[in-house]
Symmetry: C2
Subunit: 382 residues, 2 copies
């Protein structure tokens, strides 16, 4: 299948490109290295040393004999998006190419506006490139579980049947996003849903949980194929951050009571989910929404898990409950449905102490690269 991966330089984008390439698909990637800039602005850097996209593609070719096509431009430039789509004619388009950070978006007005305008415009550009080229291409868009917030009812996969005053309809699941960033993804979902109804495009919205893990089947093959690994306060996510904190001897920073519960998945499962969605495309005019995570954990539980795994490696790690910089419920109901990807055949890689220990061992190789100042949270929600 011809697959275009947007955001192909990212934590998930690059491993996805390699994995699909390995599985025989014809892969092109686009990125403008915005994420690298933003992490740098946040005072951080990938813990793993990473090459640029042409170097990566070259290394991948040497390792696998396969080719990944590299394009470097901003997805807000419609002419370039449109030209690439017209020439490459993707059968599937996997859209990871957005600003992914809640804290970044909460920094101030400028960051809020930039996050929303960047994400909304580049998503509209993608939609219009498919429509204007009249392609029967399946749009696979990365959303987030954070679009839903934490309602007091079970979260369904995108849609919910509502019975109200004797009538019934199946409608988009109500959204209560956690940040300006999450709100940008809600806007994207609304826009994609509209595009399926009006233009008849096929789309799958993957409301992903928090991804963890450092290696995939391809990144382990050669150090030049490593994907980025962020741990700074803005672009690092819960479990990955704790792992870096553990290897550098920083206390694990639990925000508030740590009762916040979220869905998580291993990076290998992200790759599997995206490929499953791709191999089983949505119908014309259909928006499918999958809740893409495999397990729910509270932040507290994750901290304890990392602490125990670290002990196996002889690392003494403290857990610190620090003032929660976010405005969020610290204890709440959380029971989202996530069966649709399992129905397509997903076989989850579940979290285990062994898995965390292995991750910590890998990260220990790069611990001297850690910028410890980037760890403590500075961005507050108020």
């Amino acid at each position: 299948m011809r697959v275009l991966v947007l955001g192909g330089d990212g934590y998930l984008g690059w491993p996805t490109a390699m994995s699909l390439s390995e599985h025989g698909h014809d892969v092109a990637v686009v990125d403008n290295y915005l994420r690298r800039q933003m992490v740098s602005e946040a005072g951080g850097d990938s813990l793993t040393p990473i090459l640029n996209l042409s170097q990566r593609a070259k290394a991948w070719h040497e390792v696998s004999g396969k080719t990944v096509d590299v394009h470097t431009f901003d997805l807000r430039d419609f002419d370039l998006v449109n030209r690439l789509v017209r020439e490459f004619r993707p059968e599937a388009l996997i859209h990871y190419g957005q600003i992914p950070s809640a804290p970044y978006s909460m920094t101030d007005r400028r960051h809020a506006v930039f996050t929303q305008l960047n994400n909304i415009e580049n998503n509209l550009n993608v939609i219009f490139a498919l429509v204007e080229n009249d392609l029967d291409c399946h749009l696979i868009k990365l959303g987030t579980m954070g679009e839903y917030g934490c309602p007091n009812i079970d979260i369904e996969e995108g849609f919910i049947e509502i019975e109200h005053r004797g009538r019934k309809d199946t409608l988009p699941f109500p959204k209560m996003p956690h940040s300006w960033y999450h709100a940008s993804k809600v806007a994207d979902s609304t826009n994609i849903h509209f595009a399926t109804r009006v233009y008849g495009i096929r789309a799958t919205d993957l409301n992903q949980g928090v991804v963890y893990g450092v290696h995939t089947d391809q990144t382990v093959l050669d150090d030049r194929l490593l994907t980025r690994f962020d741990y700074d306060e803005q672009f690092g996510t819960a479990l990955n951050r704790f792992c870096v904190q553990a290897v550098v001897g920083h206390p694990l920073t639990v925000y508030g009571t740590g009762g916040q519960t979220r869905g998580f998945l291993n990076i290998r499962d992200t790759l599997a989910c995206v490929e499953l969605a791709m191999l089983n495309p949505a119908d014309r005019g259909e928006l499918r929404v999958y809740n893409q995570f495999t397990e729910s954990f509270s932040i507290r539980d994750l901290a304890v898990e990392v602490q125990q795994a670290a002990k196996e490696l002889g690392l003494e790690v403290e857990i610190h409950e620090i003032d929660n910089p976010r405005t969020e419920a610290q204890e709440h109901y959380y029971n989202p449905t996530h069966t649709k990807l399992l129905d397509l055949g997903l076989e989850p890689t579940l979290l285990s102490e062994d898995l965390v220990t292995a991750t910590l061992s890998t990260l220990l190789q790069y611990k001297d690269r850690a910028i410890v100042d980037a760890i403590a949270p500075r961005t507050t929600w108020r």
Copy 2:
């Protein structure tokens, strides 16, 4: 009360400013005349002759002895928004200042992107100006009934209690917007809701129906105080368009079967609703949503109403069912709740043949200004 009216040059903004000024409030308006440009681009012009804002404010001062403060700038310029908010310190901020046209947004990618980015950014600027100046100001934001679409259940006012698998929560009412424009208003609603939760601002989101009518208590006083009246395919709305079509001898353009049913209200009621919301502000941290319309009609029924009223004036008017340029259900369930503004004391001005006849009589005075070429729909949804 100190009231800032954004979009103060518009169909509703200008009459709102005069009405609040008449009622003793201290009113400032902002506009950048974008609407005038866009109507011009659509090949149209206000049927009523209108002055610019300084001329209007001068005329209003001569007629009433009262002052409306005029500011001319783009709300996407945060520094200017912020400075005005800091200096004027509004107690209420009424935000009409957005691109309001579904067909305009459906023209092509550029218009879709411009509509969404303009509306979303200027709304974020307003939110941040209130937050950064730490004002206890009530944000009254104009939304639209078109945010909801036409679900098969009763539409509640912004929120709905959902019982699901034995648990209950009251959540934002699901949205299925009709156009890129309507989707921009959904994004605004999501953003305002988030801002009430995180920053504790007070907000009222007025999901308004289709407004009709040419005169208010102030516009009748002097021709120099007239508000704009649009009838072109992009900025004219159903009933107003039919009235202009009737006076210029153009067949009434019913899209498809005309079974599309929408909520409508008189322009005088818009002014009353906005003032009621203002005089009864939301609490700190509260987002109130009101469905702001007084009656539902099908497009077919409105055409017949205008045809009959025109007959009273000796005008023979035909009704033409033309191919629907929009993607929308032409026959559907529609029963939105709209009691909250009535509970606050709204006394609706209901549609009647007399009222339509009076509107037609007023418009007949300006019929020579009509640009007939601007009437037929050219913008399609596909």
